[in-house]
Amino acid sequence: MSLLSIFRKTQLVSDARNLTPSQVMQLKASHHKGFKFGLSLLLGIALMGFVLPLMLDASPYDQDLSMRLLPPVWIEGGSWQHWLGTDGNGRDYFVRILYGARISLVVGLGAATVGMLIGVTLGLISGFYGGWVDQVVNFVLTCQLALPGLLLAMTIVFLVGPSIMVVILVIGVLHWTLFLVVVRATTRRIRKLDYVTAAQAIGTGRFEIMRREILPNLMNQIIVIFTLEVGVAILSEASLSFLGVGIQPPTPSWGLLIAEGKDALFYQPWLIILPGIALFLLVLAINMMGDGIRDITDPESQSEGSS
């Protein structure tokens, strides 16, 4: 008996109640503090971004020049009317930050989805076929890694013209390498397992093997990378917007809010600190959730074939 089979058995002991893989995951999720914290924070931010503005009936674009640069309520001169203060055009900062959450989430999820589609497709194909297909994909990957991402993104957005769609596509197209590398390596491993050979022997087509036999076994890893990439994409969007080639004013994006506030850094620091905190909390929530998902879906728990 090898040590590995002992670890496998350890798992059997904790699975003694004969749970299905999804039940085991639920059980683990309910015990994972980081995951629960990240998920609640993320849900909270999403609710605040998408639902709260509808209830508030306030626009992020309403200007009131007589109320410019009001401080938040806890600083002298602030009032509950604009409890997080106002910006240089007298727009309510709380409402603008709320709308910023929308942009961040939409861009983050959208860009990570684009990256996932590209990376997973290429990874599956190159891992499954190997040979020259793999070499071509590898070459594309090497080229991609050699490109200076942010500069390229800036150039493309500058040429095509900025809009949310363009920002999503550009960030997505620049963030698929992690998906590719992980999916390719795992596909190569799974491809050699007996259940793939068995599927071949019962006459399953190649596409079906990739879709039914290999892809479901990659889902855990894809989800983990997806959450990480959402965080990265949100930060990229903020950087692009900060540099003026992302979301365009007057749309409220956190990166843009920070950029607009940088002139007033010394006198009205909250203009930078508040969207900064929002950005920090959102990415923290997503990363904690990602770590949690990684622990929960740890393949060791499903006593996978490879030993």
Binding site: L3, R8, V13, S14, E208, S306
Partner: protein
């Protein structure tokens, strides 16, 4: 009797789990005299390895010793702190060797460095003294060309040689007790024979005591004077090996032996019936290219040299050989999963590459060795077994469920397995699922690559019986690839023996197994350890 060298009293090992503490073994007792060998026999999950890992402090993180005492010459091993345990006991008084020689050595260090490192670092010996000691040990384990080996790396050695290195490493400090955990299970039979003989010899030479863990009663009966039989964490029987094996008192031991006898007692088939050949291979050969690097010439390995044979309808053909003999390559070629470089395979007079994949699937199906990788962990058993029906539509959509259940029942799986996942099944159950999936299309030929070698003894017989039963019911032809002579003798009508990619002997089971002609076949047969039987029974 003098004071025992090692005493284990009432040892219990437990696991921490979300559901609380789970006892995996309990009430384990052992007392070992100097120079004595005790065998511990049990199936997977019996706790035989865990008890020994507890003694060597190698338990996995979630496991801990929950009660009991381990004493070695008056020292309480459990009371020692980690530092003094490693300084005084581990490697010096107790050493352990493991099953898997392929992964036990670090591939980036030379053999010499791995052998001498602990002596130089922990004992402060000079490099020359340590090297001399390592050479001495390599000679003791009968390693040819020991000086050359010192500078070689693990990948340059065969499995049997690596196991010799592992033994040499374990013996570097002349331990009092050697724990051998299935040291020969991963090795070929002829190599197993050599390693066992070596262990027995070394033990007598060095006068050390040995604890020999194995699932193989034949091997244990060969090496140990006393034996402990374990099952599900409990000791069910202990005593002199001879008396336990000849007159077992516990029903579990009796059952185990019966499984063995049943495999051995079946009359070997003398039939060499030449009915219609269903599959014919003519001059098939396969060569693998191993690319050594960018600028080096690629090396070619002949996995299969020109081989011709026929498989007759309804028979069971066993292909026997050790690792590297080309038997698995042969199986994949006749299954159409890889193509041969030369020659051709015809199934029912059609060349196999001309048969459309879907049609081939209904003619030939494979069964694999490893029950842990043969099923997709993300699909339920029902989905797995029904899959061929969805692809081939041999039955109407509304009958798929009924057909699936019927097939599962044939394979000995009750209906409540339908919604379970592979992770919830034991090895034997998984192998039944793999068999159900293979027979649901009612293929003419079933190719089984080591169908039982990853299973426990008591389950092996069940799976073999199942295969026999299904063969009769569905009138299938079986091609069984195995290294296990008991399995071959039980199933086979005809036997092929392969060596280095060549078919060196063929004939009816009785001919080949009882009166082998070639020297290699004779050696193969004599390397099999059988449990000695009481003449009365």
């Amino acid at each position: 009797m003098s004071q025992p060298l090692l005493e284990i009293e009432n040892l219990a090992v437990s696991f921490k789990s979300p559901a609380g503490q789970v006892d995996v073994t309990h009430g384990f007792n052992l007392s070992l005299q100097r120079g004595e060998t005790i065998g511990i026999v049990g199936e997977s999950g019996s706790g035989k390895t865990l008890s020994m890992l507890a003694m060597t402090r190698l338990l996995p993180a979630q496991a801990f010793v929950s009660s009991g005492a381990i004493r070695m010459g008056g020292t309480d091993l459990l009371a020692l702190d980690a530092a003094s345990f490693h300084r005084q006991i581990s490697g010096r008084r107790v050493s352990m060797i493991f099953q898997e020689p392929m992964t036990a050595l670090n591939p980036v260090y030379s053999i010499g460095r791995q052998l001498t490192e602990t002596m130089i670092v922990h004992e402060g010996l000079s490099a020359s003294v340590a090297t001399a000691r390592a050479l001495e040990m390599l000679e003791a384990v009968k390693m040819p060309q020991p000086r050359l080996r010192m500078n070689q790396y693990p990948h340059q050695l065969s499995g049997g040689q690596r196991q010799r290195i592992m033994i040499a490493m374990a013996l570097m400090n002349k331990p009092d007790v050697l724990v051998a955990d299935e040291p020969t299970t991963a090795l070929d039979v002829t190599v197993q024979d050599e390693i066992i003989k070596l262990l027995v010899e070394l033990q007598q030479q060095l006068g050390m005591a040995m604890i020999f863990i194995s699932h193989d009663l034949g091997v244990v009966s060969r090496v140990s004077e006393r034996v402990i039989v374990m099952r599900k964490g409990e000791t069910v029987e202990r005593g002199e090996t001879k008396s336990v094996l000849q007159a077992p008192s516990h029903e579990y031991t009796q059952g185990l032996l019966q499984c063995l006898w049943r495999l051995e007692d079946k009359k070997l088939s003398t039939e060499s019936h030449h009915r219609e050949p269903i599959l014919r291979a003519e001059g098939i050969a396969k060569r693998y290219k191993l690319s050594a690097g960018l600028l080096k010439k690629s090396r070619k390995v002949d996995a299969l040299k020109e081989t011709s044979f026929s498989v007759y309808a309804g028979e069971t053909l066993a292909i026997v050989g050790e690792s590297g003999s080309g038997k698995s390559t042969l199986a994949k070629i006749i299954n159409g999963l890889i193509s041969s470089d030369r020659g051709k395979v015809t199934v029912e007079n059609t060349a196999i590459e001309d048969i459309p994949v879907k049609q081939r699937a209904r003619l030939i199906q494979p069964i694999f060795q490893d029950p842990y990788s043969t099923l997709n962990p993300t699909q339920t058993i029902g989905q797995i077994v029904a899959r061929p029906l969805h692809i081939h539509k041999t039955v109407a959509a509304e009958d798929i469920e009924a057909k699936t259940l019927e097939t599962m029942q044939k394979a000995g799986l009750s209906a409540d397995f339908v919604h379970r996942f592979p992770g919830q099944l034991s090895g034997g159950q998984r192998q039944r699922v793999a068999i159900a999936r293979a027979i649901i299309l009612q293929p003419r030929i079933l190719i089984c690559d080591e169908p039982t070698s990853a299973l426990d003894v008591s389950i092996q017989a069940q799976i073999l019986d199942l295969l026999c039963k299904l063969q009769r019911e569905l009138q299938m032809t079986l091609v069984v690839i195995s290294h296990d002579m008991a399995v071959v003798g039980y199933l086979a009508d005809r036997v092929f023996i392969m060596l280095d990619g060549e078919l060196i002997e063929s004939g009816s089971a009785a001919e080949v197994l009882q009166s082998p002609r070639t020297a290699y076949a004779k050696k193969l047969m004599s390397s099999v350890y059988r449990v000695p039987r009481a003449s009365a029974s």
